[in-house]
Structures are given as structure tokens and as C-alpha cells.
Symmetry: C2
């Protein structure tokens, strides 16, 4: 099954992803692939859920972060890593660095929630707050790199990150080699492009889809236009999917992804609730986007898809709790 | 590892549980065993979570129900099954029956929530409502048996139910044969006694514990007294653990369980929240009772326990949702 190595002009190839899979094995969780008969019925096909919400730090981001950190040579590694992120990549990189015994510095906008700041510190990361602008963020990150000598590991547009995220598809296909399709949510495209390279290189007939909120649909619009378009003014509860595709991820999404499916906020909320209630899995809105896409009419109309794998990308939601109180 | 068959005077033996494991294989989910480094740290030992919240119908009850239904001969099976339960056993038996193509009748108090009634009907069960008294319940169940010719399958005090629940321990020990201890919540004792027979028969040195809310502590009091005591006036959010031990389960709990650990409502809520937040698993309060027990000071003081397995018994909680609204 591991034959069919692809030669490509992209930033990474299947070989990079297989090497990443070897590199991260035993460090990351090999997450379970779960199924739910209720969802088979609702989707009118078999649906396999790759549970990256159960990954360390609560999202697939730990794969890429671990791969990137472990790819550093001894000298750069000693100086640590730097990133800018207010999301799952921040926590993932902080823990990946700590597991290697090296420092991590995370630049966050000072508007980032105290919970997210605390999560990064909880994994041993140093947090630097900046004004909530792109310019302030980049300046703060550059200053941190200059001061620490650390290596900048961006959240998605980096070969080692993309290769690391692709390992989720390797594991999924090891368990379900006969899947007809795979779908992943798309924000910056690190996950989707890694999954697309892995899946289409292992099995050229395997169809790869992205899922995106209607309120942050740059990937869908870029695919339709045939050229990269930025995301401006995103409006969605799927807070992991606000960003534009990157320079490295866009060509892969353009060529290796069949289509981007878009879903409404209402569909995202309903899908999130469905997975909590029926599968007993805490997933975040960004993960629910892919579930909503599989349940959508437009996806159900596609023929020749008996089985589809969904990457449940993460489970990091802010609690207060089910009964409406601060509890349970 | 499967040697060491025990001869016992109890209602079931290891042989019954191994036979049940064969019988239910491929019908029930083989649930994953998950770990979480945060919880290792909090518990000061390794903790392995057997995720029965991810079992079909959302709880371990599907194991016993499936085993009991599949043990019926062809003639009794055709007439279907009957039970009285307002909880997880009701849903489990309804689905187990439907999967065999036979009818299930469930007697519920008319005070049972519409959600629970709907869940049973959703799995194809017929619901009969009665007054919320023990007498009315038994009369309604007897009437249903007389009318349908069906077989009464009680929620816990039945050999096939106990043997079925014990299969959770078989699977857990297949994955982690070197566990020093196993802990399960205890209400009627079907799960705990099945787990105790399986675990102590496979490895006599393996220590088995029960976990109980302080507000429904009949098992702890019975163990302390050395004889069966009833549960009266239970007060706890752990709605799966309100009942007294049964005639069949009590002797096993008495002899094969080292101790019953009791926890407060506050500890149950905190443990439930911890598992939702850190493990991204939806668990119900009854499952959180065992987590709280492992985190308790009294359990942490026990020596010679490097690793403990917890049966996360179920995930059926009524939603409204994290943000306090009806959604996410």
C-alpha cells in the first residue's frame, strides 16, 4: 500500500510525509478512527472519523509542530522556536518544543483570550503580547527571533508543517485503505494540502475535498477563479479557518483537491452538536465544518463515493458548560 | 494471558465472560483505550481510559444487552424482550433487540424525560409509561411480559448482563495486560462485578475498585458492614448510580473488589469538566465518578499502583450546550 511514490513540483512529496510519519511516531498520539451508524444513515454513505480532537494539545497541529521541531539541527534547536498564533498552532508548538527540551516563544495579539494565553504557558511557552495588527505581529516575531536566535515556525505555510499534517491521512489510509474520498477543513491549508499530497500520491483515484465556512470562503473562491484570492473580513464561529491560503498550500489545493464545499454557520452549529450528542466527542467549530460538508446536499449528490474519511481537526472550545452554568 | 480460569460460586465465571466476548465481537464497538498526560500528572500514576462513552448507544450497557439478547433461544427471541429502565439500559436493550430483528418493550416512569423516551423509540423500542413507583413498574413489566411472551432482561442483576459488561475488562487487559488496578463506577453493580470477575480471574494480583457518589453510597456501606444494605433516598447528579446492589452482584463486589471509593458532587463535576476539556470526551456524571475517585487523595495514597484502568462508563448527558445557549 505504501508504493506509488509521487514526483511533484510542490513543496513536499509523499516521501516527506512518510519520513514525517516515522519521525513523529510514538511522540504524537496515533488517534483512533471512529464510526457512528447514525451518521452513516444521515450521510447516506460510510463515514470514518479520524479523531485529531483526541490528539495531544487537542488538534492535528501537534503533528506539524512536532515534525518541524524534530527536523531542526542541534544548533538551531538549542535556540528554540518562535511563532505567531492565537490558535491551536501556538499550543502545539509550545508542547512540541517542551518535549524536545527547547524554548518556545509565541507572539499573540493582546486581544487573545486569557484562556488561550494560559494554555500556551501551561505547555511551557513564553507569550509575547502585541497589538492586534499584522504589522505588529510580524515585528514582534522578528524581534523574538533576533533576540533568541530561535527559528520561526509559521502555522501552516512551511514544508515541515505541511508534511507533518499529512501524517493524519497516512494513518487513516492504513486503517481504511479503500476509502473513496477524504475531506478536511481548510483555513491556511496546511492540513488539507498535506492530506491531499498523501492521499492522492498513495492512491491517485482517491478524491480529496476541502470544507470551508461560507463566511471565510477564500479557498472556494480561489478555486473558482483559478488563482489565489485573499480572505478579507471573515465572519464565522470556525475560528481556526479565518486565514487565507498560503503560497505553498495554494498550488496543492488548486491541483490536488477536487472541490471546496462551503457550509453555513447554522450547518456548522448543527454538525457540532450532532457529534457531541451522538459520538460523545468534543469537537470545535472548525472540525464541524467538514462534518457539515459531508452532510450537505451538494456532497450527497456526488456519485461513486461509498465511503469518506473526515479529519476531525480539533476539540479546543472554550467552556462554560452544558447546563448553562460554569459547571458541570 | 487468557489462562488462569477461575472456579467460583458466583453467578458467572471467566468462561462466561470470554464466551460473551466472542458472542458480541463485531456487533459492539471495540472501544479505544485513551490516555492523557495531564491526567497522569494529576493522578501521579498512569491512567488508561476504556472509552465506553464511545460504545454504541453511548454506554457499556450495550455489551450486556447484546449478550443477553443473543443468548436467547430462537423461540423466546421471537417474542422479544422487556425491561424496566429510564436510563442507559433502556436504549441499549432497544438497539440490541433491533439489531436481532426482535421487538423490545421498555417500561419507564412517566416522569422520565421526553429525551430519554425519544431515545428508546429512536432505537425502535416500544415505551410503556407507568407511575413512578417500584410497584407500578414491576406490574407494568409483568403485564408486558404476559402480553408479549417476551423475556424480561433486567438492567444489571442477571448473569448474561454481568458477563456482557465484563467484556470491557477483557478488552482493556488485552491492550494493557500489566495494569495494577482497575476501577469502575458502581450503581447496581453489573459493570463492577463483571469487571471484577474478569480481572481477578485473569490476574489474581490485579486490584479492583469501585467508585460511588457519597450521595448514593450503598456499596461502600455494604462493604463496611459486611452485609448487603439498600440505597435509600440517593442524592447525586450521577443518575446512573442511584440503585442498590443486586442479589447476584453483591457477593462479587463483597469478595472480589478491594474497596469502594466515595466522592463528593463537587469532585464529580470537576472530573467531568476535566475530561471534557482535556480529553475532548463527552462523559456523563456517572463516568466522572470513577475519574474523581482516581484523583482523590485516598486513592493516591495507595501504594504499589503504577497504572490504573478506568472504565469511562458512558456519555449520555442531556444537552443544552457549552455556550449556555441551546446551540452550539
Amino acid at each position: 500500500m505504501m508504493g506509488g511514490w509521487a514526483v511533484s513540483g510542490y513543496t513536499i512529496s509523499l516521501a516527506d510525509i512518510l519520513a514525517a510519519a516515522d519521525r513523529v511516531r510514538g511522540i504524537i498520539h496515533r488517534t483512533p478512527v471512529l464510526t457512528c451508524s447514525t451518521i452513516h444513515q444521515l450521510a447516506h454513505r460510510s463515514v470514518m472519523f479520524k479523531c485529531e480532537n483526541l490528539q495531544k494539545t487537542g488538534s492535528f497541529k501537534y503533528r506539524g509542530a512536532t515534525n518541524a521541531v524534530r527536523r531542526l539541527g542541534a544548533n538551531p534547536a538549542a535556540a528554540g522556536v518562535v511563532t505567531h498564533s492565537s490558535g491551536n498552532h501556538a499550543q502545539a508548538l509550545a508542547l512540541a518544543a517542551r518535549e524536545c527540551g527547547i524554548p518556545a516563544t509565541v507572539v499573540m495579539p493582546k486581544t487573545a483570550s486569557p484562556i488561550k494565553q494560559a494554555a500556551v504557558r501551561g505547555y511551557g511557552g513564553a507569550v509575547i503580547l502585541c497589538e492586534p495588527t499584522l504589522e505588529a505581529r510580524d515585528r514582534a516575531a522578528a524581534e523574538a527571533v533576533a533576540r533568541t536566535g530561535g527559528t520561526l515556525i509559521p502555522p501552516f505555510d512551511h514544508p515541515d508543517i505541511i508534511a507533518g499534517q499529512g501524517t493524519a491521512a497516512i494513518e487513516l489510509l492504513e486503517e481504511y485503505p479503500r476509502l473513496d474520498a477524504v475531506i478536511a477543513p481548510v483555513g491556511g491549508g496546511g492540513l488539507l494540502s498535506g492530506v491531499a499530497i498523501a492521499a492522492t500520491s498513495l492512491r491517485p483515484s482517491l478524491r480529496v475535498f476541502g470544507a470551508e465556512p461560507l463566511g471565510a470562503d477564500d479557498a472556494a473562491r480561489s478555486k473558482a477563479a483559478g488563482h489565489w484570492l485573499p480572505q478579507t473580513g471573515p465572519r464565522t464561529i470556525a475560528d481556526g479557518l479565518l486565514t487565507s491560503l498560503g503560497q505553498l498550500t495554494w498550488p496543492i489545493v488548486r491541483d490536488r483537491v477536487e472541490a471546496i464545499l462551503t457550509v453555513s454557520e447554522e450547518e456548522i452549529r448543527a454538525a457540532m452538536r450532532l457529534i457531541w450528542e451522538r459520538m460523545k466527542l468534543v469537537i470545535e467549530p472548525s472540525a464541524a465544518v467538514a462534518v457539515a460538508a459531508v452532510l450537505s446536499e451538494s456532497f450527497q449528490k456526488l456519485s461513486n463515493i461509498q465511503s469518506v474519511g473526515i479529519i476531525l481537526s480539533g476539540g479546543n472550545v472554550a467552556f462554560p458548560f452544558p447546563d448553562g452554568s460554569d459547571g458541570p
